[in-house]
Symmetry: C2
Subunit: 639 residues, 2 copies
Amino acid sequence: MTAEKSCDPSVNEMLQIAKKKGISTVWDRYRAQLPQCGFGESGLCCRNCVMGPCRIDPFGDGPDKGICGATADTIVARNLNRYIAAGAASHSGHAKHLAHVLKKVSAGKAADYSVRDEAKLVAVARRLGFETGGLTVSEVAGRVADAALAEFSEREEPLAWVESTLTGGRLAKFKELGVMPSGIDAAISEILQRTTMGVDADPVNNLLGGIKGSLADYAGCHLGTDLSDILFGTPMPVFSEANMGVLKEKFVNIALHGHNPVVSEMILAAAKEDAVLDQAKEAGAEGINLVGICCTGNELLMRHGVQALTHSVSQEMPILTGALDAIIVDYQCVYPSLTTVAQCYGTKVVTTMGIAKIPGAVHVEIDEENALVKAREIIALAIERFKARKDAPTFIPDVKSSVVAGFSTEAIVGALAKLNAQNPLKPLIDSIIDGNIQGVVLFAGCNNVKVPQDSNYLAMVKELAKRDVLMLATGCGAGALARHGFLTPEATEEYAGPGLKAVLTAIGMANGLGKPLPPVLHIGSCVDNSRAVDIAVALANTLGVDIKELPVAASAPEYMHEKAIAIGTWAISLGIPTHLGVVPPVVGSSLVTSVLTQGAEDILGGYFIVETDPVKAAEALFAVIQKRRGGLNLATRAW
Amino acid sequence: MTAEKSCDPSVNEMLQIAKKKGISTVWDRYRAQLPQCGFGESGLCCRNCVMGPCRIDPFGDGPDKGICGATADTIVARNLNRYIAAGAASHSGHAKHLAHVLKKVSAGKAADYSVRDEAKLVAVARRLGFETGGLTVSEVAGRVADAALAEFSEREEPLAWVESTLTGGRLAKFKELGVMPSGIDAAISEILQRTTMGVDADPVNNLLGGIKGSLADYAGCHLGTDLSDILFGTPMPVFSEANMGVLKEKFVNIALHGHNPVVSEMILAAAKEDAVLDQAKEAGAEGINLVGICCTGNELLMRHGVQALTHSVSQEMPILTGALDAIIVDYQCVYPSLTTVAQCYGTKVVTTMGIAKIPGAVHVEIDEENALVKAREIIALAIERFKARKDAPTFIPDVKSSVVAGFSTEAIVGALAKLNAQNPLKPLIDSIIDGNIQGVVLFAGCNNVKVPQDSNYLAMVKELAKRDVLMLATGCGAGALARHGFLTPEATEEYAGPGLKAVLTAIGMANGLGKPLPPVLHIGSCVDNSRAVDIAVALANTLGVDIKELPVAASAPEYMHEKAIAIGTWAISLGIPTHLGVVPPVVGSSLVTSVLTQGAEDILGGYFIVETDPVKAAEALFAVIQKRRGGLNLATRAW
């Protein structure tokens, strides 16, 4: 926990190798950037026209306005909005990609893909209000794909993936504020226009635009989850392992990195083919070992139990084992530095998407119509590298943790149904009412080189678990907890308070696990934060309250991506108080800062809690839960 | 020309007042920003995630990579792409707004608006391939509006407003490069995704994405022109005046500022109503004097001969006359500082669009269904202010120039048809062939506080006019030339070379003007750069060549807006060498700089010429023209 760079022992082992070999890593590049620009850090730098760049002096000794007259408040709000727009474009771009695949599946034009979860397809179609009786799977898939693609265009009706997935209270609030997006791509473009020189100078009006953009991001996330489940299956609990010890010296080790399962599912399918396995064996390997990085890894872990290699800030490290033969990437959160480090080892870095190339990588474009063929081609590259390295020593850290993952909403409801088949949510609600579960906290987001890797997650989870707070986790947050053994029944035994332990044990026993569920349920990748919303909405609707009254909160203790800012903004808009463990680039405006951290509570119910000390952050989230419990006339507890 | 801040005498007069009264202006704010951040100026600052901000040391003494490993090339290309995306969002947002108005007009839901130019409507519909026979105007309008709105959504077919308006050679090139956008908003979102942390690290691939985004911008511009013409009329030559001397002490002076005629056309209509005029007279005014700022001003000047007050960097100045009663703004290029300066004078600043508010302004929201009613309400605010100031002294500079404007493509073709009704382009082509017209240069873009206002325009136009180069102008560039008397027959007499003078005189005489046309033809607002493309495409198709072979070039000698970067990028993509008189924020990457200024010529035919000295810039453009003339086997000339 006092580690300077990472709390992960395998990362620290690799850092020794990097040091010895003189290989530069993300931590070296971070140190080289210090001190970082204070104007940028506080949001006070504007580059939105070529009269600038302009900077506002936060101490009042220099300029208080940009050349056009934009104030600190305006500049900070505009910069925040552009982060949100980029986040929304990323999540929804991922979702749009899936919608095209589903569309092609429905039209019989993507032979390598199929609808693997017909029940989910029908459930989504019905949620959208479609009649499905008498229709073939392809027909239903076509309608859902069309509805998904229609979300991106501007239109008269509110976004179906917002309207059909939230509480009535939230929808009424969004209509009242005028923040219902009229189309995902339309909302993104609107932000870019309003933040350009000479358009929206009103900081609060800008923030409303940002909220609208964040709801477009929410729709993109939910679409991403739904369409992935339809195409590749809805996750159900699986056992697996995480951390660099999952690499196998004698195998062709292939890491799948990025976010969208569209590529990795095909690599997985190809890697199971006899011909491909034979190829690996002919090269002298015992087999092919697929492992995951970041959210592509989460998608594979959730659906197939594929082992998680590492996450986020440590993505360069596995190359230093010498045992990683290829990293196959789709898009988002992929460090361009991978190719530089890989060059020292011969590890193949393979890019697969036209919008995401990296100098020094091999590019093998994958589309819906050639996916398996290309997947085989890519695996052949990894095998080729294995052949070249097989007699060389490897340095695989003997570090891995067991993991229970796969907690989709459907899986959680299914597990609860073992306690109460009629009303599966009742055991959970009863536990919240009687205080065995004090509330629920969602951990989301990334690692950030500014925080010793994983440290905030670990400290917060320990504090909250012992106070009977049930936790959910997504993305690299879930990955951090996975690598440190927090997604296990044993973690419940070790860290959970008595109430939480009792509930998790009851559910675990009823499901034949013979042990409690983990104290943190891995609900998926970043887009799968939508699963947490589904659970919150189900709780709220069952209780007859709005989300903003529930004893729930969220935390992004080590976030770094624009996507995380978009998610955080929709979380507070949905009425969920959200902790940020890294100071967001808004502190240059006391107005924007106070709206986001205070005023938002009155308007939205949710607000940001910025706290870099993880114990204090846990305390703040526990206080939120207690306040919300009080609001529902439930018994409260002191910290 | 040696003016420090502005070459405009009325601006310099107002600056004396500002100095005396201690009122801060854009030039003061610029001075306060000096020295500007060199990282931002060179494009070497990345704020696309919260691990940053990162900076690359251009001198090689500090970091050569961002924390994620992004190089200078990657960072510069990404930043450029985000400028292009914001520019495209602005132009196309403006166009989308017009499409919604046209749609409501077609549905009978926007009583204050109508199709004023049925011939243009039919021409656009036919260009799109629609049968119009037997359809009512409303029906055709509905189809064109639907086609326009469909441009924003992702779809299979290329953008209709790209496909139907360019040469076959250009379309083939864009398909070859994979840069045909699949939807305007889709292309904008794609740029945001590809430029976020961990997506596209390949600088050249990023630049291709930027070109795609710029073509989305081009579609937005052309849509903006077409829909404005349909709704408000296609401009035909008009006489008017420009500069602050157009204010009238005894009148209620109202400036219309921004870009979209949707608001200003309603103010214009309301200002002509008897009841409204009576209101003004009751307040003691002789009448209502509407004047224009920036492109809203250009739209009104082009269609109605409304006088142009000022442009871009001098937009605060007219307030200092004391005679300006209200500034009514829609969006884009509106300095938030207007309200600060206006406060000293009581001038009303009225915002009208939900996405464009300004602290300190009165907000009166205008939509398609309440436009005239709200227009009257806004004029009443101006009258109220007139009442309060009517006995106070005013300081209106006695500076104005006469202007001939209104040169839409249709107007230019119409004027040429007076020389050759069968083949109107022939006189122009013959003049180019025989060298009386050496070539055509389009002046576009803004004023930028970094350049003494108008100085680059004036110097370049003088150099090119005397060398028989015909010029077109849009936006604040056209405004600059208008204020300095270059949009007049007299300017042809004074500055044009003998060949150009002969041609312009022949056209002027044939059109009953009794004088030559101006040496620079005002073709409209920024979106109307599309009119220049129409002319180039018509020339290319008539000559049987591609745009990239024509002796044409463009210049944005004092640009500053993200929109200008988007326009410049599509201009080079269309094969038009384009001069930039302000160094764009890309010089931190020698790769990006060399692709844009050199490599692009091979790939696209167009490329950027960066030159801050206007005479050298004119020389460079003349050299382009000579090279292109040589390519067509036309006689060439030395500088």
